[in-house]
């Protein structure tokens, strides 16, 4: 691919999803975008790029954007954050919200649903302590394709073996042919909505807990700071933010501060 084509595509991606693509990732453009070109009857990437030059077809651009996202996820990813949520964060919230008895959680890059469903399982496991509580898990992602999969709650044998304890598989899943489907009682706890983090999300209400994991790594510093700044605005002063293992607020924003002893967890500053 020539440099002008690369620059055109990478500027589109940066603008539409925040993704920063370096030239060493050119192969990714090729492997992921050629199928999109083919689907539209074009020979390859060059035709796709020239069609974009001629007219900015929204459907093509959004296909390209979705195709370039990395959607890998697993149940209870990294384990620790979910333990921290259950053992440290949840008990405090149950105490501080005891009068209102409401709890709102946002998964800001939910991908195929493993993260919101893991949180839903944790809440379900703690149901005895939460009688009479109204809990909401709102799960959003830029990509409609992953949201469809998330809603179906259907996972392959490989996917249910990455991070999900076998007891939870038995308790919360049903076997559907070769696949495993998470039970309707868990599915019903999560609301899915398409949302681009680059766009305004101020209208979603406030969230006591935000999981924004393994998405900021794809953005540049300014975009990270900007997204985190707007996230802090929709959280109460005692709200908690969970980031991915390779992500931090340090050196990025002063709207959040690390919580002593809890890695990957940040409090509203």
């Amino acid at each position: 691919m020539n440099q002008t084509d690369f620059e055109l595509l990478s500027s589109i991606l940066k603008e539409r999803s925040g993704l920063v693509l370096t030239p060493d990732k050119t192969y990714l453009l090729e492997s992921r975008l050629v199928p999109i070109a083919r689907k539209r009857g074009m020979a390859g990437l060059e035709d796709l790029v020239s069609s974009i030059r001629q007219s900015k077809d929204e459907a093509v651009l959004s296909d390209i954007t979705e195709a370039m996202t990395t959607n890998e996820s697993f149940f209870f990813r990294d384990q620790k954050p979910f333990d921290v949520f259950e053992k440290e964060v949840l008990p405090k919230l149950l105490e501080s919200r005891a009068d209102k008895k409401t709890l709102r959680i946002w998964c800001a890059a939910a991908s195929t649903g493993q993260e919101p469903y893991s949180l839903a399982i944790v809440l379900k496991e703690n149901a005895a302590k939460m009688a009479g509580w109204r809990t909401e898990i709102v799960a959003t992602d830029l990509s409609n394709e992953v949201l469809e999969k998330a809603k179906s709650g259907l996972y392959s044998q490989f996917e249910v073996q990455r991070g999900l304890p076998i007891q939870f598989l038995v308790k919360y899943f049903n076997q559907v042919n070769e696949m495993w489907q998470i039970d309707a009682s868990i599915r019903g706890m999560v609301q899915y909505k398409p949302l681009n983090l680059l766009e305004n999300f101020g209208g979603m209400g406030t969230f006591d807990v935000v999981f924004c994991r393994n998405v900021l790594i794809y953005f540049d510093q300014d975009t990270k700071a900007e997204v985190l700044g707007r996230t802090a605005k929709i959280m109460p002063s005692d709200g908690m933010l969970f980031l991915g293992g390779a992500e931090t607020v340090l050196g990025v924003t002063d709207k959040f501060k690390p919580v002593d002893g809890l890695r990957g967890v940040y409090a509203v500053a």
Binding site: F74, Q79, Q157, F158, Q161, R162, G163, P165, I166, Q167, L169, V170, N174, Q175
Partner: protein, 121 residues
Amino acid sequence: MKKCLVVDDSKVIRMVARRILEELNFEIEEAVDGQDALDACNRTMPDAVLLDWNMPVKSGIEFLRDLRKTDGGGDPVVVFCTTENDMSHIREAIEAGANEYIMKPFDREIIEAKFAQVGLL
């Protein structure tokens, strides 16, 4: 170093499992069926057992039931690793005292994830 007993009648599977588990710092012993495994446990109790289901002489589930009845046999963490991938087998395994359950085919990532979950890593 933790000891893991790999029980499978397939030499190939034992070899693949051994390679993965050695990289995860386990000392490996192998057994070719449930009886062989029980004998090995009676000599020295391992920390972990990676256990196939269908084997000649004595199956994995029979081994597990016997193991849990022996002195000290409650200690090893037992992870099934089998092509039996339906809910009734999984339930039966848990009831017999299995700690985790891997459905074949498996790879390094799955073994590592499952062993981490049960606190072996």
